[in-house]
Symmetry: C2
């Protein structure tokens, strides 16, 4: 009991981790060598991208690199800096472990403290073997720290160059999400002439950094969704035990609904809302509320007074009428930023903003509960986006669903479409809608990584280090064939870039991968949800296991989208890395 | 992916579970036999109790029974009903499994649907081997369902007798917490003349049903605290990763702070509030807020802008000035129940109540934020208690701590007691107090049981069944010596009863076991918290493991209070029960 670490924390550091074949030689970890394939990737904005990134594109030709075997040449003297960028995700530490291992004694690995800001400020330190032994297989980004600074001004570019010179860096590895990898693409171009290589590593619990069969998933998604799925599973198990609550559970994921969809597949709640579908079907808030109330009423009419509703964090922004309102608010808030800063009361600001909105949107805005209205006017984040995590969508839905249910109880006409018998309607009328709400977010970012995330990130780190030793720049690493030993790729970062409007300006960014309603995962979900809605069919993945028979499992959505026949993964031979 | 159950759920059903020696004969599970010891238990109200429970006390003499070996006599024809009562807790299903196993083919086990209410309504069904094979080692109470009906009126007593007659029951097993076991004591006396045995099983995630070395802990506590501790551990790991938040985490536990204390020992956050200490030290809300603000300011002055504050759910009721207010409100609300029911607006009710309060309490009430004031006036639960889980204590603390910190930033006098240097004070003044709040409760009640809870409950079930076969009534089962193979006891329920004032009336109840500030656990915590407050010393138990090296661990507080030298438990030989 006196030891600083729990037994679990001591034991995970001893776990062996699977390593892909290209990184192994006689059971030892060695760098891989890459070959340019003929496969080109790019977006519809590729001409504009190519014009803005001439140096990297000339070198990469936007072609995918494939690891083909061991790198035979011994490379030494590289000085590599690694940094975390954006919100933490489980497995980040193992990327650093993989990098350190592959660079070995002949090269130097520096850690950048506190994210991109640390790169500007030059707060680097040398990472030793002793340090990585302490972090192997652990959760969190605390070894380096992270932040959300975007590198885009000339002043910032100069600061990066100063840091590069100060530490005589050969390469920079950026571990981050879509915005951070956009940063990496920009840095690769900026530092090209200095001979500095830049490599990105795909991180985000949101799962919205993925590219079909080339990048099945970002790291951290598996751990986060397994943490949330256990909690949702526990709550589902609670509902028929205590038999009186509907739980509304909001899950982190600012834009895409991958997290909600994955958790739904792992747990099978009565109702799961997928933002992308809401948008595609052009659903109004009222229609959405009705669809939830229908399931609740139908279950109540059969005597089932409990259930779970899973709500993706970013939902509001995907309801078309709300999107119009928010887009208009974003423009107004950005355009009149100075004017608004000079106003002191919320009422003053509101009056001002209402007058700038088109009439129908001002009306929609006014129709929302006060609490909610104020939320929509909250300050934006540094990317000019609405801070949706501040909005209690789950509570808004509860209020509106309750109103709807009361209407349905009062007027039999309102349930005509549900075809209830008289007895069923009477049962529904007696039903008491008791609710609880939850938001799971921070809980899922820094837990100990699943075996999948631990293995995936170690291999991503080995890949990033190998790319550097093999002389490449401007790539993001990827591992595919997750059930067949792992196929290591490097995707040209410029091939991922699009033009997007932010803060009222066009910017070059990596587009978030949203849930596609024609994907195998969504179709699987859509084909089953009516059954899950009718009565309890839930299951639970349980707490994620690092040992035992259920330890090696992929996210369900990854297995479905990649066409795998089971959830078991195989990322190579298990190795004691340190 | 098509199977109804996750791989984890399939595999836990195959887990072997340790069984105490008294239940084993040649590797097979058999009933134990009990002998009356010379150890008597009782409370200071024992004379009043003995007078009210003459029949059971005459039989038990309030002496503890000890299981001494296998029951050699073959008993058949018993008809036993089992029910869940109150909130669910992990392991309940294994109590049923243990009962079924020990009763075997020669006796009949009935499940009572939906708790005590089901006993009144007579909704029983026969439990088969096939059914228990489906629930072994699983979480939740959904196999039977539960409710919170208290059996106390003559009408209810008659209904129970009707059910007993209808099913020709020989015995009833009540799986529940303090109130439910009070029910069990009452039923044991009531049904004594009918020859019906009643046995209680100690359940509650709150951990407040424990009796020194006789009953180390109730079941469900270990699973719930390990679930919460993982989440708190994840959040702790997040704080130095993202480096910007203070998280206020409220943990379930209506009265005692056992859950908060256990989670603190497993994770070591900067601040953990223990309600019982607050009460003992007669702390005001203002003093408590100052003590939190002090730790936050001190860390900020050293450049640490993050941390976690653990808050027990029932805190408010332990702040003496608030207790006075709430006690007075409870009396007023109970006394003027009818008057208040006839009032329609909150304002009307408030006005009425304010006039009934002593002046100083009315003043305290008025000093609270409006939102909070309304909460205190909310309807009471069926036991006449304030629904503290409805009160966002964590949010109240955030608001008040923020105000305090702002004062401290404005006036250097306010931090004089913290001995900051000028540089440190300047750093604190720049510190931005960004917060998140969480409430973990329902997530912890129905997760898959830890190996400890799975084993503990199976043995409790075996013990309850053995007591019935061995002809006893009016006991609650217990297992001690958790590190030495398990020692099986039965404690006379009447020995646990006290007189407590509820709804303005004296009632016979089992007193909740609160955290004692002179217990080994509290002293251990108290001796370390200053170090944890100063800078990060956190750890995490990780997700609870059912396999591997960290799977067999007791709650830290149980190990400390029982004087064990490690967390490892030993409850006997591992057996495949079904």
């Amino acid at each position: 009991m006196e030891d600083h670490r729990s037994l679990f924390e001591q034991e995970i550091r001893k776990l062996k981790v699977p390593v892909a074949k290209v990184f192994l030689k006689n059971g030892k970890i060695v760098p891989a060598v890459f070959a340019k394939s003929s496969e080109v990737i790019g977006t519809s904005d590729k001409d504009a991208v190519n014009a803005q990134f001439p140096k990297t594109v000339a070198q990469t030709e936007n072609k995918i690199l494939k690891a083909t075997g061991n790198l035979e040449k011994k490379i030494t003297g590289k000085r590599v800096a690694v940094l975390f960028s954006g919100g933490p995700a489980a497995g980040g530490h193992n990327v650093v472990v993989g990098l350190k291992k592959i660079l070995g004694d002949g090269n130097t690995l520096f850690g950048v403290k506190n994210g991109p800001k640390g790169l500007l400020e030059g707060t680097l330190f040398e990472i030793t073997d002793e340090m990585v032994k302490e972090i192997v297989n652990t959760g969190g980004f605390d070894f380096l720290g992270s932040d959300r600074t975007k590198i885009k001004t000339d002043e910032q570019f100069n600061a990066v160059k100063e840091t590069v010179k100060k530490y005589n860096l050969s390469a920079i590895v950026v571990i981050g999400g879509d915005d951070s990898n956009t940063n990496a693409a920009i840095l690769a171009e900026l530092l090209y002439d200095m001979g500095v290589q830049v490599i990105g590593v795909p991180k985000t619990i949101d799962g919205d950094l993925q590219i079909g069969s080339y990048l099945p998933i970002s790291f951290g998604f598996d751990t986060a969704t397994k943490i949330y799925a256990e909690l949702v599973g526990n709550i589902l198990q609670d509902t028929p035990s205590s038999r009186k609550y509907w739980h509304f559970v909001k899950l982190m994921g600012r834009a895409a609904s991958h997290v909600a969809l994955e958790v739904a597949l792992q747990t099978r709640p009565a109702i799961t809302i997928i933002s992308e579908e809401v948008k595609e079907k052009n659903m109004s808030l009222g229609t959405l509320v009705q669809s939830i109330a229908d399931v609740i009423a139908k279950r109540a009419s059969k005597g089932i007074n409990h259930g779970v509703v899973v709500v993706p964090e970013g939902l509001i922004e995907f309801i078309p009428e709300m999107m119009k309102l928010i887009a208009e608010l974003n423009e107004v808030l950005a355009h009149y930023e100075v004017d608004l800063q000079n106003m002191h009361t919320m009422d003053e600001k509101k009056d001002f903003i209402y007058k700038k909105l088109p009439a129908e949107l001002a009306k929609l805005m006014a129709s929302l509960p006060d609490e909610f209205e104020n939320m929509l006017l909250l300050d934006r984040d540094s990317h000019g986006n609405l801070q949706v995590s501040q909005i209690p969508t789950e509570r808004l839905l509860i209020i509106m669903v309750e109103e709807r249910l009361n209407e349905m109880k009062r007027h039999e006409d309102e349930v005509r479409h549900l075809n209830m018998t008289a007895e069923e309607y009477a049962r529904f009328q007696k039903f008491k809608f008791a609710t609880n709400s939850h938001f799971f977010g921070y809980e899922g970012r820094c837990g100990a990584p699943t075996l999948f995330d631990a293995a995936y990130t170690l291999n991503l780190g080995l890949a990033a280090g190998s790319l550097i030793l093999d002389g490449h720049t401007g790539y993001i690493v990827a591992v595919t064939d997750l059930q067949k030993g792992g196929n290591v790729l490097a995707l040209p970062l410029t091939g991922l870039l699009n033009i997007e409007r932010r803060h009222g300006k066009d910017e070059m960014v990596i587009k978030k991968a949203l849930v596609e309603t024609n994907s195998p995962t969504f179709l699987f979900f859509a084909s089953r949800r009516a059954v899950w809605a009718e009565k309890d069919h839930f299951t639970s993945p349980g707490p994620r296991q690092l040992w035992g028979p259920s330890a090696k499992q992929l996210p369900v959505s990854v297995a479905l989208n990649q066409g795998y026949d089971s959830l078991a993964f195989d990322l190579g031979e298990e190795v004691q890395v340190y």
